[in-house]
Symmetry: C2
Subunit: 258 residues, 2 copies
């Protein structure tokens, strides 16, 4: 029992009571229910952000910290890519890295995120240096990269499934921010528009993969746990922003201060 206690990979959810394999559509229904419960569209910081209730400094804190998540996505995807067994699967996954890093002509997601931090008046060198990052942002994002390196490929693919829920949060965010903040424009929010078509394409592949490749109930439970883990790390990033910059508003030593 002590051995289990210190095993960070022990699943937190209670073990499945039914040992029967779920029909694929039931697995998908349960994955969507996890989003209903845990996706950060329900986090108070998101409500404040799209509802126009944040100051410019608080929006800056969000963009500054979220940059580290964006910038780490190719490291995460490269780890998955390197573990996929066939050219077909790797080509599919490689597209994600192109989406984030660009092709040298069209800017990728990271460059578009820096347009947002530019537009918010943050110094680009400072953003890229990561010097002002909340430690909790770093721990959560690094946990994601480590997860896809150390878990099964099935779990690594499943952890990307938060994209099932991202079109809804992006729509709320973009329309709310444009309406409510005079310091953002369609141009500074250009990160989000391509994501509205990229994310569903990614999801179609990843959701099909987990529905097809989870051959046992135990694997299906691992898929669900991977999605919970991913929701938790997105949520934890907003917790840390809220604590540091909204309420009670106590940035930790060394973190960015408005």
């Amino acid at each position: 029992m002590q051995a289990d206690a210190i095993d960070a990979s022990a699943p937190r959810a209670a073990p499945a009571t039914a040992s029967d394999l779920l029909p694929p559509e039931e697995l998908e229904r349960r994955l969507r229910a996890i989003g209903e419960e845990r996706y950060h569209i329900h986090h108070p910081f998101h409500h404040l952000l799209h509802g126009g209730k944040l100051s410019k400094a608080q929006v800056q804190a969000w963009a500054l910290n979220r940059y580290y998540y964006q910038a780490s996505i190719p490291a995460k995807d490269a780890a998955v890519l390197g573990r996929l067994p066939t050219p077909e699967l790797r080509r599919e996954w490689r597209r994600r890295i192109v989406d984030h890093d660009g092709d040298g002509v069209h800017p990728g997601g990271i460059e578009r995120w820096l347009k947002l931090t530019d537009g918010l008046g943050l110094d680009r060198d400072y953003v890229v240096s990561l010097r002002g990052l909340l430690p909790a942002t770093r721990f959560a994002v690094d946990a994601y990269v480590n997860f896809v390196k150390t878990r099964s490929v099935l779990e690594a693919v499943a952890s990307s499934l938060t994209e099932m829920f991202s079109p809804a949060i992006i729509s709320q965010r973009v329309s709310g921010m444009l309406r409510n903040y005079d310091f953002v424009s369609e141009e500074t929010l250009a990160y989000f528009t391509p994501r509205l078509t990229q994310a569903p394409q990614d999801v179609e592949f990843a959701l099909g993969y987990v529905k097809r490749e989870a051959h046992t109930r135990e694997q299906q439970e691992q898929v669900m746990e991977a999605l919970r883990f991913k929701c938790d790390l997105l949520w934890a990033q907003l917790d840390a922003l809220h604590f540091a910059y909204v309420a009670p508003g106590l940035p930790p030593p060394g973190a960015w201060r408005p």
Copy 2:
């Protein structure tokens, strides 16, 4: 620059302006100054805890989450142990694992921490299951274990140097908690007493090691950055507890609720 941006191992501190090696006693002085700035003895949650300002449920949340840190210490120390090059160094480090896991006769730190969670009325199986843990606790603690696995041995040893500051926080915590809470006793706080002698013994070795083995200014900067990293992850754990259970008091989905 993009490559640096996604490198989680990039140091956050500005590079040293002086390239001169610091005298060992100056290195020690700077390490102590890092504790003055960043050790969690200055965190508002610690003040509430030892000042008697927390409810029993809030103290339970602290003990439940801190259990994961305690339980992970031997995994961290085993990773360091396995990387040390000589029997002398390994024997020194092995003592830390004995301190936490016990010798089969005398209880170790983990068992003593479970006496605390027992005394606070938490179900032991539930504590050990980690089911109610805050995700941020998990991310911060796992970041520590990963740090000692992937950084230099010098940095791994340096990250243990928060023990320089622990006798002060333990004294405040124990005397304050005994005075202010009728639900704790000397017996339930038995975890802390041996730490008052173990920690200085550990520090004597680790501080001597980094003063002796940091041969360049760059290595000295790495030592300081490792201590900052460690302070940050202890601080982040209290941030998450404060956010979830004190103010605003919003436990994330799936976490323990009083």
